[in-house]
């Protein structure tokens, strides 16, 4: 299957890249405990048998889009809502949950400030903003933490994307392999 270079894919991958630029994030989260919905070889796709080494686990979900196909005469804009789902497997609020929460928020604002010039679509900056929406900290929500005991969180944020309408209409997105 060919890889896609559409703006949503660029943003999804860019968020992971942002997290990996943070050494403290890498201290807490092992590569194999990231649930990335990318390609055939999705790393650790929601393991069913969880051991201590599989936690904390973090997943990046897309929750959907809001937007305006004709935001202006030439532009289309989208608010793409993403969520970090963090499952700690621990009841330690101060040493596991809050530092990871802080690290995620730190990377959100760094992504907001640093990503726009570094990721282009059709030679144009297309990431126009990142807005923090909501963070739910949970001790028991089987939908979020798949029944794993301990703190989990669901941190939602929007990435504001603007592309030229003509590029949405005409630009091919599949990368030749």
């Amino acid at each position: 299957m060919a890889k896609s270079n559409d703006p949503f894919s660029i943003v999804y991958n860019a968020i992971w890249d942002q997290l990996h630029s943070d050494s403290e994030y890498e201290y807490f989260i092992k590569d194999l405990n990231e649930v990335r919905h990318v390609g055939y070889d999705v790393t650790s796709p929601r393991k069913t048998a969880i051991s201590d080494a599989d936690l904390p686990e973090i997943e990046l979900l897309s929750l959907g889009l809001l937007g305006n196909l004709k935001a202006s005469s030439s532009q289309t804009d989208f608010f793409t809502r993403f969520a970090f789902v963090l499952v700690t497997g621990s009841f330690d609020y101060t040493n596991i949950l809050t530092p990871l929460q802080w690290i995620l928020l730190r990377n959100l604002i760094n992504f907001r400030d640093e990503a726009p010039p570094n990721y282009l679509w059709e030679n144009e900056q297309f990431i126009k903003g990142v807005t923090f929406r909501q963070d739910d900290d949970l001790l028991s929500n089987t939908l979020v933490n798949r029944g794993i005991a301990g703190w989990s969180l669901l941190l939602q944020f929007d990435v504001h994307i603007i592309v030229s309408t003509i590029s949405l209409k005409t630009q091919n997105i599949l990368l030749t392999t």
Binding site: N68, L69, S72, S73
Partner: protein, 312 residues
């Protein structure tokens, strides 16, 4: 007295009407004299009436300076069935259009239908009468959504080929005619049972002549440019689309104002600004009347019927 909603309202000959309103003014003249004992006594002055209607679409049925027989229908008396007998406002004279405002709005959520407002003044009397039936709505001019572009072509000093202005969030085209009012003492309005003008006095009516014409275009944009595209010195031909290959042609325009450059940090909004373009009848470097401009309604290109300017 029954109270109705406006849902069955119509205007004869005009489709896709969103709303209409009407004002009548008697211009009462105040008199205080020895015999009024300091009280205000009033006599009827010149009777005038005016109103407006809003409709969808980018091609108004009437343009500024044009007269038309106005029939405004309120609501059928039955309260339930469109077309039943009801009330209407009309005049033995005409309405004349003072101003038309057409709005293209891209920035609302989703695409927005182009709409316009027509403001008019009336001549002669105004009556509210019973209508045996309210008219069927005029054939619907399927309204265009904003999906079209605003194009400009620079004429002078630096020629630029026809180009689309990017990132336009809203365009507002205003066409006006400062119509000449003539008070017609020969047309004395008399009172009647159904007339708006009650009482036994009489009043003079207004008459109109088509007046001075003007247009202005305000273009709001989301971008970080200053006097880009439409510069401060240039003379431009503008084309504002109502649909594919269906455009208002505005020849020529000059930028009159560059305003509302807004950088909203608090709400993290997109940078925005507005450029106002004003009518320019002749090219600045060439005052030859052969170079008179045009204002052409969509669909009128190639015809002799133009709102203003040279025929094709």
């Amino acid at each position: 007295m029954a109270t109705f909603s406006g849902r069955f309202g119509t205007i004869l000959g005009i489709g896709t009407v969103r709303n209409w309103n009407l004002n009548a003014n008697m211009n009462l003249i105040e008199v205080r004299a020895s015999n009024t004992k300091q009280g205000a006594h009033r006599k009827k002055g010149v009777f005038e009436w005016s109103g407006s209607y809003a409709a969808f679409g980018g091609k108004p049925a009437f343009l500024p300076g044009e007269k038309f027989a106005l029939e405004l229908y309120t609501h059928p008396d039955s309260g339930t069935t469109a077309g039943d007998p009801g009330k209407k406002f009309n005049s033995s004279g005409n309405a004349i259009v003072d101003e038309v405002v057409i709005t293209w709005n891209f920035s609302d959520t989703g695409e927005t239908i182009i709409s316009h407002t027509v403001s008019f003044s009336g001549e002669d009397d105004l009556s509210c009468t019973s209508a045996s039936s309210s008219p069927d709505d005029a054939p619907v001019d399927a309204p265009s959504v904003c999906g079209a572009s605003i194009l400009y072509e620079a004429i002078n000093p630096t020629p630029i080929a026809l180009t689309a202005i990017p990132a336009v969030t809203q365009a507002v085209l205003t066409l006006t005619s400062n119509n000449i009012v003539r008070i017609d003492s020969g047309t004395i309005i008399t009172a009647s049972a159904n007339s708006i003008i009650a009482g036994t006095d009489s009043a003079c009516a207004r008459k109109f002549l088509e007046g001075v014409k003007e247009w202005g275009l305000a273009i709001s944009r989301n971008d970080n440019t200053f006097y880009a595209d439409l510069g401060a010195e240039g003379v431009y031909e503008l084309k504002v689309s109502t649909a594919t290959n269906d455009r208002w042609l505005l020849k020529w325009g000059m930028v009159s104002e560059f305003s509302n450059y807004t950088v909203d940090i608090e709400n993290d909004e997109l940078i925005s600004h507005t450029t106002n373009v004003a009518m320019q009848a002749l090219l600045t470097t060439d005052l030859d009347p052969d170079n008179l401009g045009q204002v052409v309604k969509p669909g009128d290109a190639g015809t002799a019927t133009h709102w203003w300017g040279k025929s094709d």
